[in-house]
Amino acid sequence: MISLGGGPLAAYIPFLHAWPWPVSPLAHLLLFLPLAFCIALVYRATRARSASELPRATLITFVNIVVGMSLIALAFFVVYEVVIRVM
């Protein structure tokens, strides 16, 4: 009988412990890219009639999301800088 109650097997379950991954500010931002890609892929898959339509449509949606979010971030940065200087 294999015991899971904190026994030796628990050490082999990768998701049990927090991953001590040093997420730097740049890596923190870059982790947005795989998430945006998965969102683009799933969203486009719900609109596709066959998988052959997916690569191009996913790429376009992915680029749209990344460029759109980057522009929003840039706009917020500009507003922040202006507010900081005025204050």
């Binding site: 904190g6 990768p14 991953w19 991954w21 500010p25 719900t46 009639r49 066959s50």
Partner: protein, 175 residues
């Protein structure tokens, strides 16, 4: 009448299977490539979030019930992860709960800080994990709705009326 019954059965089967395993509904309906796409994209999002956040803190209705509700979109993964959370480790999920008010004793005070640090992730990994896990659940809701629609329409996607107007016949032949 009989055809409606068959469609309803197929919809229920596809919906439940898609809830249990991302892409399962599409696979059942014969859209194997689309099923594989849903499976890969949603599984990656869920398990990457889980790896970042740790199972004790991330799949826990006592720490963040709204996150848990979002995660339930990927029902099979979330239920299995919660069972694993209950069965393994030195901390019970209830021990990580945030107290309701300042008069309620904090259950986290009873935990050894070293044990606590071993199981719980912190900023920024915890935030990224929450975003990934919630997104996985919500993306699977889209996949479930799409599977239900395809079961109902015989293979056409959710926005099939708009697509028919704009795109014409399917590019790959088989839907």
């Amino acid at each position: 009448m009989k055809e409606n019954r068959v469609n309803a059965d197929k919809m229920i089967q596809a919906g439940v299977l898609a809830w249990l395993i991302p892409g399962g509904g599409h696979f059942l309906l014969g859209h194997r490539a689309l099923g594989a796409v849903f499976f890969a994209a949603i599984s990656f999002t869920f398990f990457f979030g889980l790896a970042l956040g740790g199972i004790k803190n991330s799949v826990n209705p006592f720490t963040n019930r709204w996150l848990f509700l979002a995660e339930l979109g990927t029902g099979g993964y979330t239920v299995a992860s919660y069972v694993v959370n209950l069965k393994v480790g030195e901390i019970k999920p209830q021990q990580l709960a945030t107290p309701r008010d300042s008069n309620t004793p904090d259950p986290r005070d009873q935990i050894d800080p070293d044990v606590y640090a071993k199981y719980v992730s912190f900023y920024p990994a915890a935030d990224v994990a929450q975003i990934y896990l919630a997104t996985a659940g919500l993306l699977n809701l889209l996949a479930i709705l799409d599977a239900l629609t395809r079961a109902q329409t015989g293979g056409l996607p959710t926005y099939y009326r708009e697509l028919a107007e704009h795109l014409g016949p399917p590019a790959g032949g088989k839907p």
